[in-house]
């Protein structure tokens, strides 16, 4: 907006004066810290940064950021953020949401802001449980989950947020987790840099109602063998010394192999820029849940015009063709007659 250099800031500058009130030990603290550490590195201004949220534990996020922010209605943050991003392309608009907020009550809005490619950075805190309402199962909870509302086990098949985002025509889809600040910061940095809707699933531990939901893949001891960090243009390898890898079967499904058994050249090379989302989708299905080796990082990052830019292009085109709006001309644009 101005020529003045962006001031140098620290995490403290991005923290509001409000006490953070998540439960002690909540994974949300580490996501908040990752964002607050990252923003000073991005060369952005606090006044041009807006956090919009819906309802849920994650949705308290904006109150803790010393930026502009809105804590809106359950599920509706993508809709609110769409209106803001489309009318104010100069702003950095972030959406912070949870698995219930984004995938249950607000599923429709998430889907449509992804397909429209609205210029938003969307962080979905997935803890596979309803926290704020004290422990009901969520649309990402595993089948058979015993909660207060499902004492005999939940019956519904969960969503896979990455698969859902890919199916909704998202141009940027990524996953990270709350146990690794460096990984979060790198994924968030990529998401922020993406022009259009950037969707990030964050595995986030709810230590009160669903403690350890991701422990089998994100725990410090297990991580090396259980997280598959995706890197564009590189063979997909993980495990100690990269002894494991991913290959594609003839039918297109993926399989985990010992690299020594197949040779590195047989491994699948990750291509986040592929227009066809089939490969990213296959990667999103590699793990059936956070108890099998699970890909993290950027699944898909392709370029497509963002919605706000397209809207503005139509406005500019209309103004170029018809000139700026003239109210008198508008009122006289129908059939008129004069009475003397």
């Amino acid at each position: 907006m101005t020529d003045v250099a962006v001031p140098i800031t620290t995490r403290k500058d991005w923290s509001s004066d409000q006490d953070v009130r998540w439960c002690p030990g909540c994974g949300d603290y580490s996501v908040l810290a990752a964002v607050q550490f990252l923003l000073p590195e991005l060369g952005v201004r606090r006044e041009n940064t807006v956090f919009v949220s819906g309802i849920g534990c994650a949705a308290r996020f904006p109150y803790y950021m010393n930026t502009y922010g809105m804590h809106s209605i359950h599920g509706r943050a993508p809709a609110v953020a769409t209106g803001l991003a489309v009318t104010r392309p100069d702003l950095d608009v972030w959406v912070v949401t949870g698995d219930g907020d984004a995938l249950s009550i607000g599923g429709n809005h998430l889907m449509h802001c992804l397909r429209r490619n609205v210029n938003l950075t969307i962080l979905l805190f997935n803890n596979q449980i309803y926290g704020l309402t004290k422990g009901q199962y969520s649309p990402t909870s595993e089948v058979g989950k015993v909660t207060k509302s499902t004492p005999f086990g939940s019956l519904d098949t969960p969503f896979n947020p990455i698969s859902l985002a890919l199916g909704a025509e998202a141009t940027f889809v990524a996953r990270t987790h709350d146990m690794d600040r460096k990984h979060m910061m790198e994924v968030f940095r990529r998401a922020h840099a993406h022009k259009g809707a950037a969707f990030v699933e964050v595995y986030q531990n709810c230590n009160v109602f669903n403690d350890g939901a991701f422990e089998q893949v994100t725990g410090r001891a297990q991580r090396e063998e259980m997280l598959i960090d995706l890197h564009h243009g590189e063979p997909i390898r993980f495990g100690g010394d990269g002894h494991l890898g991913v290959v594609m079967e003839a039918q297109g499904s993926l399989r985990i192999v010992e690299v020594d058994d197949v040779g590195e050249e047989a491994l699948l090379v990750h291509d986040e820029r592929r227009e066809d989302p089939a490969l990213a989708f296959a990667l999103s299905r590699l793990s059936r849940g956070p108890y099998e080796p699970t890909p993290v990082g950027v699944f898909r990052a392709v370029e497509r015009n963002d919605y706000g830019s397209l809207v503005d292009a139509q406005l500019l085109d209309a103004q170029a063709r018809k000139g700026p709006g003239d109210l008198t001309a508008l009122l006289n644009s129908g059939t008129t007659w004069t009475v003397d």
């Binding site: 109150y63 809709a79 009318t87 059939t335």
Partner: protein
């Protein structure tokens, strides 16, 4: 209707009449809305005063020839100031037996019926539910019936175009339009020009429609069928430039004007719904005004996006009808809490649920007033005529911007699709409704302003300092409105949300006493708007009226027309109309207490009556109607006479109150 002979026109005699009500009726695929609309425009350009009532089914194409598929368009034209589309048609043009059967009961004895006799074959007659051909069984003997073989004449006229008969037949509505245009001596050039513009991409259709239109006109002129043609002189309008406008177009233009007058970019978030979609269509055309429109994924997203845009400093608008209002209620409540400008436009239709999508009703008033959880007051402005939709839109936006509040703008299906001549305003005469954004901190950070530690710090500094602070809920003492501080403004970063906020700081607060303070502040802000709107004007020409007729919304027309009729026969009746429904004008209580009887006619089961009774303890009389059509003037007129009779009886005068007169076939008095 006065009739005099005019000998000026050659060929066929032409009589002068002062007004006429014509209804065009046919299958929904017959183009009756186009026919009615063209006749209306010819009349408007000619200089008549007019009022229209389109009436069409919710189905796009119900089975041809059935009663369910009948679409009609009524237009009232006159040489003097009129208010309504007319209680009953003097002339019915029926394109098939179903159109005749669906409308004939509305035609008064002696009325004129013009039918397309070609459409009266056995199958069509049976499909319409007639046991015998009504053209021959004598059932129409109380009318003047003109049978015109419109299909055959249209096919004949269109022969030179080479169009196939099935295609050529589709021009028969233009034949009917030509015929009626001759009958009422309408100018024809604008219609021919319109046909060329509208169908220009298809030369055959342009030629066929033009030939059919001319053939209809010439048929009237030459066939020895009609005794005479009629002419209705131009009405005496104030000098100025006029256009014929529907409510939805006027409303859309009003929104564009409001954006310009408010100096804020307009953003519309909307989801298609009858009868509001035309506003979305119209606004989407005018991108050169900087208008952004989003056809959202649902009603909730429409208003959510509008609210997000408002947070960013735009004029956020959402347009819908009743079912959409249900869905938007939660976001309206958020807007009440956020105290941001937002306009919710409700083009009311028959409810509950999907109800009567294409029929008018005024039944969302209490929903607009109370349809949210918690104490969530919202100002309400209601349009009264099609052209008034323009001004009502500007007024609603003015209130929203000045008081940082969601505002309901109520229109209805009748206003939306009905039209009237509108004297175009001079843009210079429109009000400046601009507001300003906050640019500077408004607190001092030492705690004396209640800001606590909510310090706004420089980028290099730290949060919670002692420097200047920004208090997003520090109110303007006059309006109680809070500052509108938009993202991009350095130093004013703040967070707002649906959780209760601390007075002044806007921080989340669960404090019980603070909650009560905030509830009462929000209520006082809305109530205070009464100081900023005109007093209710009460028209009581003799100063001693016995009955006050108080209307709101589209009932204005029938109410005022009814009052005029009663006054013509010496009835002492006062008339007032509410544009602001929340808050009410501050003198409303005084006005309604002034008269022995207060009559409130409304297209619901007594919603305004409830509010007025509750606020002022005045036992108003409620005249109600929920038949998907506006009031007939006669319904209001009869009820006023009944109430005048009651007052006479109260006073011991020698007048008998006729209770029966207050019950009409169409409307109920409670």
């Amino acid at each position: 209707m006065t009739v005099s002979t005019d000998t000026a026109k050659p060929a066929r005699p032409v009589e002068s009449i002062d007004q006429i009500v014509i209804r065009f009726a046919g299958d929904s695929g017959d183009g009756m809305q186009v026919t009615g609309d063209r006749f209306t425009n010819e009349s408007a350009i000619f200089g008549n005063d007019l009022s229209t009532l389109p009436n069409f089914p919710a189905e796009i194409r119900a089975p041809a020839g059935t009663m369910a598929g009948v679409s009609a368009f009524q237009v009232h034209i006159s040489d003097h100031d009129i208010l309504t589309p007319g209680d009953a048609p003097n002339v019915l043009v029926a394109m098939n037996p179903a159109a005749l059967r669906a409308n004939v009961t509305d035609v008064p004895t002696g009325g004129t019926i013009v039918v397309n006799s070609d459409a009266f074959d056995d199958r069509a007659i049976e499909k319409a539910g007639y046991a015998a051909n009504p053209l021959v069984d004598g059932s129409l003997s109380q009318f003047r019936v003109y049978e015109v073989p419109m299909t055959a004449l249209t096919l004949e006229a269109c022969k030179p175009t080479g169009a196939k008969p099935r295609e050529a037949e589709r021009s028969k509505n233009f034949f009917a339009l030509g015929l009626v245009s001759w009958l009422y001596q309408r100018p024809t050039e604008t219609t021919i020009q319109w046909i060329t513009e509208r169908f220009g991409h298809n030369a055959v259709v342009v030629e066929a429609n033009t030939l059919a239109f001319r053939a209809g006109y010439n048929f009237g002129e030459t066939a020895e069928l009609f005794e005479s043609a009629y002419e209705i002189s131009a009405a005496t309008h104030e000098p100025g430039t006029y256009t014929n406008i529907t409510g939805n177009t006027a409303l859309a233009w009003g929104l564009i004007a409001a954006g310009q007058l408010g100096k804020v970019p307009l953003f519309l978030g909307s989801y298609p719904i009858t009868p509001a979609s035309d506003i979305l269509h119209e606004l989407s055309k005018h991108k050169n005004f900087g208008v952004r429109t989003l056809q959202a994924e649902d009603e909730i997203a429409g208003i959510g996006a509008a609210l997000g845009a408002a947070f960013g400093g735009a004029l956020g608008i959402t347009t819908t009808s009743g079912p959409g209002i249900d869905l938007k209620s939660e976001t309206v409540g958020l807007a009440v809490s956020l105290e941001l400008p937002l306009l919710i436009v409700d083009i009311q239709r028959g409810g509950p649920s999907t109800g009567l999508p294409t029929k008018t009703e005024q039944s969302d008033l209490l929903h607009a007033m109370f349809g949210r959880h918690g104490e969530a007051p919202v100002p309400i402005v209601a349009a009264m005529t099609p052209s008034h939709c323009f001004y009502a839109a500007i007024e609603a936006v003015r209130i929203a911007l000045k008081y940082r509040t969601p505002v309901f703008l109520l229109s209805d299906g009748y206003l939306a699709n009905g039209s009237e001549p509108w004297k175009l305003p001079s843009v210079d005469d429109l009000p400046d409704i601009s507001t300003s954004f906050a640019t500077e901190p408004n607190g001092n950070g030492d705690g004396s302003d209640g800001a606590g530690s909510g310090g706004v710090d420089s980028a290099e500094g730290s949060a919670g300092g002692d420097g200047p602070t920004f208090l997003p809920y520090l109110r303007d003492p006059e309006t109680l409105a809070r500052p509108w501080a938009i993202p991009g403004t350095p130093g004013l970063e703040h967070r707002i949300g649906g959780l209760e906020k601390e007075d002044r700081t806007g921080n989340v607060s669960y404090d019980a006493v603070n909650h009560e303070t905030m509830v009462r502040l929000r209520a006082a802000k809305i109530a205070g708007i009464a100081k900023d709107i005109p007093l209710l004007e009460c028209d009581d020409p003799t100063g001693d009226a016995q009955v006050l007729v108080l209307s709101w919304g589209s009932t204005y027309a029938a109410a005022l027309a009814g009052v005029r009729r009663v006054r013509k026969v010496g009835g002492r009746v006062a008339q007032a109309h509410l544009v602001h429904l929340n808050p009410f004008p501050s003198n409303l209580g005084e006005v309604v207490r002034r008269y022995p009887r207060v009559l409130i006619p409304e297209g619901n089961t007594g919603q305004l009556s409830k509010l007025v009774r509750a606020d002022f303890l005045v036992d108003v009389r409620s005249l109600t109607k929920v038949q998907g059509t506006p009031f007939r003037v006669a319904e209001v007129e009869r009820t006023i006479h009944g109430l005048l009779g009651e007052v006479g009886a109260d006073a011991g005068a020698d007048v008998t109150a006729d209770a029966g007169a207050t019950k009409t076939e169409g409307a109920a008095v409670a």
